[in-house]
């Protein structure tokens, strides 16, 4: 059994003998333009079916809704007024004054343009756009609780479902602190006869009843290719590479933005001391994580599992004792 919490190299912890660098994303939401090309590229490459009915969700330009079994990239749209922008800037400043670790190279900060430090974007209104994805946690709740071994840790430190092993028990869905993985339903209201296509042919929706999530394009990765979303991103908001490089880039970028006076910028998932041991997908956010639908303090449930087992063991012993008392106690 590997480590349940704290900083670690997940691939080594999973007993991979060959050393591959851990791969990950850095999603810089400050340069996301909300084009959703990542969503499209992901669906195309992974042949993911349509998710639900085509509906307008009345949430800005986001009609995708959320990450799910058939949606492995999700672009969030948040519209904010000037007051909210100032609040975000203030909460970012508060993070700095809390003495959060700033490991970014000092020369990068020094190199930022001196002089004008007024934030460059519109003061009255802003649009937050952020492409969310599976976090590929260092300590992945979904992976830990999977009873079949269908979820596994790849040699690149990512977390992938084996479609032919998963029996759809659904434990991983509840185990994920980010609400990423989901069991795929057929997703349509059409009668089964119409949905399945011709008898003997591939069903229209593959892997129904099985847990599905982002694989970080495992099939492309093993071929040294960039994942579809990062490949297609026109603004390089989605970056892909070695996890360590991604974290370094993220730290440089946030330092650069702070030097520009944009203190609302902050990193999400770059801290290996957090509740999930750091995430494989690091984000630069411009407001509190919950604004984007991300949990503010996620914690992998398995971190507390030894304690839970002890409590359950105590409870089971108590039950045995109660039964013993019932039989041995007042003999009637």
């Amino acid at each position: 059994m590997g480590q349940l919490a704290g900083p670690t190299d997940p691939a080594a912890d999973a007993h991979w003998e060959h050393q591959h660098p851990r791969k990950g994303f850095f999603t810089d939401t400050s340069i996301c333009i909300g084009c959703k090309a990542c969503e499209v590229a992901c669906k195309e490459w992974n042949q993911n079916p349509q998710d639900g009915d085509l509906q307008l969700l009345e949430s800005s330009y986001d009609n995708t809704g959320a990450l799910g079994a058939s949606t492995w990239r999700h672009v969030a749209f948040v519209e904010q007024d000037g007051e909210r922008i100032e609040e975000a800037r203030e909460s970012g400043r508060a993070l700095v004054s809390l003495g959060m670790p700033r490991v970014g190279p000092p020369e990068a900060r020094a190199a930022a343009e001196p002089g004008d430090s007024t934030p460059p974007d519109t003061p009255e209104f802003r649009w937050l756009m952020s492409s969310d994805v599976c976090k590929h946690c260092t300590h992945a709740g979904c992976l830990d609780v999977c009873p079949t071994g269908a979820l596994f840790r790849t040699e690149h430190g990512t977390v992938v479902v084996q479609d032919d092993i998963c029996n759809g028990c659904g434990t991983c869905v509840a185990g994920c602190p980010f609400g990423v993985i989901e069991r795929r339903t057929d997703g349509t209201a059409a009668p089964r006869t119409e949905r399945e296509g011709r008898p003997g042919s591939e069903p229209a929706v593959p892997n129904v009843g099985v847990a599905q999530k982002c694989t970080l394009c495992y099939d492309r990765m093993v071929d040294d290719q960039t994942p579809a979303c990062a490949q297609t991103c026109p603004t390089t908001s989605i970056k892909y590479g070695d996890h360590d490089d991604m974290v370094d880039q993220a730290r440089q970028r946030v330092a650069e933005m702070h030097a520009q006076g944009r203190t609302e910028a902050r990193l999400y998932g770059a801290n290996e001391l957090d509740g999930v041991g750091g995430t494989g997908s690091v984000f630069l956010l411009l407001d509190e994580p919950e604004v984007y639908g991300l949990p503010p303090d996620p914690r992998v449930p398995t971190a507390d599992l030894p304690r839970m087992y002890r409590r359950a063991g105590l409870a089971a012993a108590g039950m045995l004792a109660a039964a013993a008392v019932a039989f041995v106690g007042g003999r009637s």
Partner: protein, 364 residues
């Protein structure tokens, strides 16, 4: 006060949504219901922000089958303990009925579990790994070991009930010889069978279940005890159910105490789903039925009819506990408030305590 005529179409003032815990309501002024005397907020109270009110975590795709399994697994485990007690103290009717009850509950529960899988035909994949980090995997092995023992004892019972007519041949003496040890083996796994389901629920990101992780197992074993005792009180004549009656009363006391301790230790926001809506009603009724069943057992347990009615009340109480806890958790996952507020609170508490290095959000 607005002069716009459209304000006449304003909906009636809703009661303000507040935390239950009075101690947390710092600086919110005097309390008061929605009596129309104060200004109505035009935006929801800024207690937390979320992404269009959408859930942060996903609810487990578990339906009533899983709740039924939680209940039936508990009945199976408790009945195995009663069966072993009957076996060791020579209460033959209690032993036989408890064994049959245990295996029936186990078979129904197992079928419910398989039915709830996304791919039921792959249920045996559960047995391809032994994975201590997965409570579901541990539970599968507990269930298998328990089922093996109980299966042997029930085969022996069936043989005895049919007057040794099962075509066992030379295996009959073997069956009779392993019957007793098999009953002991099943009883060893009975407690874990009743308790592991609590870990299964608690080891998730579902706020209400995860917050209950300290004490949920105690609630579940108590519930299993009173339910299996209730079943024995229905199936078995009163002169052999003295131990079952005592177990029922112990179970009711344990259930009431453990539930209160559990809720007391939970984050007040994450505990709210246990009191609201349908799950709240189910848990409230569960408690009433448990108390009624316990009192009935205590006062009239020696009367066959009273014992049977009390037993039925106890079984219903246990089933309602399991359905209530399951649904409360699913609801807590569907509302982002239950995820975000407790997390923000604990993050703020850690920061206030000077721990600032373990946040997932960092300035650089």
């Amino acid at each position: 006060m607005s002069l716009s005529e459209f304000d006449s179409y304003r909906p009636p003032e809703p009661p303000r949504r507040r935390r239950r815990d009075g101690a947390r309501r710092r600086g919110t002024g005097p309390g008061g219901g929605g009596d129309g005397a104060r200004e109505m907020p035009m935006v929801p109270e800024p207690e937390f922000t979320s992404y269009y009110g959408r859930p942060v975590v996903k609810p487990a795709p578990w339906g009533h089958e899983v709740a039924a399994y939680l209940f039936l697994g508990g009945v199976a485990g408790g009945s195995a303990l009663l069966a072993l007690g009957g076996q060791l103290t020579g209460r033959d009717a209690l032993r036989r009925n408890a064994r049959l009850g245990s295996v029936t509950a186990l078979a129904l529960g197992g079928a419910a579990l398989v039915k709830d899988l996304g791919r039921p035909e792959r249920f045996l994949h559960m047995l391809r790994t032994f994975k201590p980090t997965s409570p579901m995997s541990m539970g599968t092995w507990i269930l298998s070991a328990f089922g093996a023992g109980m299966g042997i004892t029930v085969a022996a019972e069936a043989d005895r009930m049919t007057g040794s007519r099962l075509p066992l041949g030379p295996l009959r003496p073997v069956l009779r010889a392993v019957e007793g040890p098999a009953g002991v083996e099943a009883a060893v796994f009975a407690g874990p069978l009743a308790a592991y389901t609590a870990v299964l629920l608690a080891d998730t990101a579902t706020p209400t279940w995860n917050e209950a992780r300290e004490d949920l197992a105690f609630v579940f074993v108590s519930s299993a005890s009173l339910a299996s005792a209730g079943l024995a009180m229905i199936t078995t004549p009163v002169d052999e159910t003295g131990p079952a009656r005592r177990l029922a009363v112990l179970g009711v006391v344990g259930d009431l105490v453990a539930t209160r301790v559990m809720e007391h230790r939970m984050d007040p926001v994450a505990a709210e789903p246990l009191h609201e809506g349908k799950p709240g009603a189910m848990l409230a009724w569960s408690e009433r039925l448990a108390v009624a069943g316990g009192l009935g057992t205590l006062l009239g347990g020696r009367h066959r009819a009273v014992a049977a009615v009390s037993g039925a009340a106890l079984l219903a109480a246990s089933a309602l506990t399991r359905f209530g806890v399951l649904e409360a958790g699913l609801r807590s996952a569907e509302d982002p408030r239950y995820t975000i507020e407790p997390q923000k609170n604990r993050l703020a508490a850690r920061r206030a305590a000077g721990i600032t290095d373990d946040s997932i959000t960092t300035a650089g």
